[in-house]
Subunit: 302 residues, 2 copies
Amino acid sequence: MFAVTILGSNSALPMHDRHPTCQVITAGDELLLIDCGEGAQSQMNRFKIRRSRINHIYISHLHGDHYFGLPGLLNSFSLTNRKDPIHLYAPAELKPILDLQFDAAQAHLSYSLIFHELKEEKEITDLKKFSIKAFRVSHRIECWGFLIQEKEKPKKIDTDRALDFDVPSSFFPQLKEGKDYMHVSGRLVKNEWVTKAANPSRSYAFCADTRFDPEIANKIRSCNLLYHEATYLDDLREKAEDRFHSTAKQAAKMALLAEAKHLLIGHFSSKYDELAPFLTEASALFPQTELAIEGASYLIRD
Amino acid sequence: MFAVTILGSNSALPMHDRHPTCQVITAGDELLLIDCGEGAQSQMNRFKIRRSRINHIYISHLHGDHYFGLPGLLNSFSLTNRKDPIHLYAPAELKPILDLQFDAAQAHLSYSLIFHELKEEKEITDLKKFSIKAFRVSHRIECWGFLIQEKEKPKKIDTDRALDFDVPSSFFPQLKEGKDYMHVSGRLVKNEWVTKAANPSRSYAFCADTRFDPEIANKIRSCNLLYHEATYLDDLREKAEDRFHSTAKQAAKMALLAEAKHLLIGHFSSKYDELAPFLTEASALFPQTELAIEGASYLIRD
C-alpha cells in the first residue's frame, strides 16, 4: 500500500473546520508523517491513525502551522511509554526549540528522538521498499519538499513458463534478479522467456509551502502524485507571489511542467470557505487534479 | 459579568473529545485567558469566544498541555493584524522558547507582546474592576495558581430615601463613596440612612496542576468559586501524589479547608471516559461541586 492521508489541508489560521498542514504517508508497513500542525494528535484520533507505526517525521519548515503540533505529539509518545526511536528530519533551528521545551518541562522521553538536520538535497531515509529525498522549494524562509519513491521492484516470474522450461523453483530468487538459467545439459533459458516486468515504481512528491518555481519540476519529474500547495485562486496571484505561495492554476502548471500523473492541491487560505473553485481552476489546466480533503486517503497510482 | 468558560478539561493526552487545559474568564468587559493547551484556537472558534477582547494571558506552568496552543494563538493574533498589546504572565523559561520560535519563522508580530515573569506571590494585574494575584501551588515543576478578585464595589444609593432627605443628585457620587451630606441649613444626612451595602465582591481561584497542599487554603480563603484539578479518583491517590496531582476527593477537601462557596473540578486523566464518578466522589464531601465541561460557562456567584 502506498497512499497519503490528509490530516490538515488549511494554511495558517485554523478555520472552516480545516486544520494546519499534516499528512500521513502509508509506505508499505511504515507510516511517515509530513508536517505536524497544531491539532495533529486530535486529527489522528479522529481518523484512526495508528501512531505507533510512525517512525519517521518530516518537517518542511518552521512556520508554526507546519510544526506546532509536534511537541505535543512527541510528549504523548512518551506518556504512552513508546520505546521505538523516532527519526525527525527538520531545519536545524527546530532542535534548540524542542530542547528548551523539554528542559522547561523537565521531561525525559521514554524513547530516543534522533534529529536529522535538513541541509542538502539528497536521500535522507532508506527504507526496505522506499527511499525519501529532500529537495529545496522556494518560500520566504528555508523550506523543503520531500520525494517518496518506491524502490525498483524485482521481476515477476511467469511460473507456468518457468516450469515448461524446467527451471527449478530453487532458482526463482535469481530469476527475480534478472539472471538466466543454464541446465546441466548446457541448454540456456533466457530470463525474459520466463519473467514479466515488475509493476513500475511509483513516487509521491510533497511541495509546500512554495511559490511557483519551474526549477522544482526537475526535482520531481514524472512523479505519480504531486501534492502542491494552492493557497489562493489565480485572481490573487500577486498576493501569492508576494507571500511566497502559489495559486491553484500555478499548482496545475507545475504538474504539467513536471509531467506528474496526478495532482493533489491543499494549504487553502482561511479566506476561502468553499473549495470547489480551486478544483475548477486547477483541473481546467490539469484534469487529473483532486482537492486535499481532511480524512481522505489518496492512493499513489500508476 | 464574572464567569469562567471551560475550553479544555483534560490532562495531557487529548482523548474522549476533551482537550488540554484552557479557560476564559469573563471579568466585566475583559476576557482573561488562563492556560492555553494545544487546540485552544479551535475551541475558541467552536465556542464563539471573541478573542479580540483578550488582553491578558496567564500560563500556570510549562508542561506542554498548558501552553502548546499559545504560539499558534500569538501568531494568529498577528495574522489578523491585531494592534492592542498582549500581556503575558508566565514562568521565565517561556520567553526564550517563544523568541526562538519567532526567530525561526522570521515572524514580526503586529502588536506588542509584553512578557511578565511570574516570580513572587503578589498582585500581577490591576484592572478597573478586578485584580489578579499569582500564588504558588505544589507541582513537579514551578507552577502558579491565580486568584481573580472583584474590587470593592461602591455603595448603592436608595434613591427614594435620598430624595426624601433632599440630597441633590449631584452629590450621589460622593454618597457612593460613603460620605455624609450636610445641607446648607446645617442639617446632617448620614450616609447609612440613604444607601445600601454593595453586593459583596466575588473571587475565583484557579489551582492546577497541584497535589493536595493545605497551605494553598490560606491563599484562596473564602473564594466564591474554586477551580481545582482532579486528575484521578481517590482509589489512585498514591499515583496522584507520586505525580503531584490531586484526586476528586482531595479537591473537595481543599474546598472545605479554604471555605470556598463552590467547587469546579477538571484536568481529568485520559484514562477516564466517564466523568460522573468524579462528581459523585467530590460532592459526597463538598455538595456545591460541578464538573468542568468544555463549552460550559460557570458564573462566579455569592
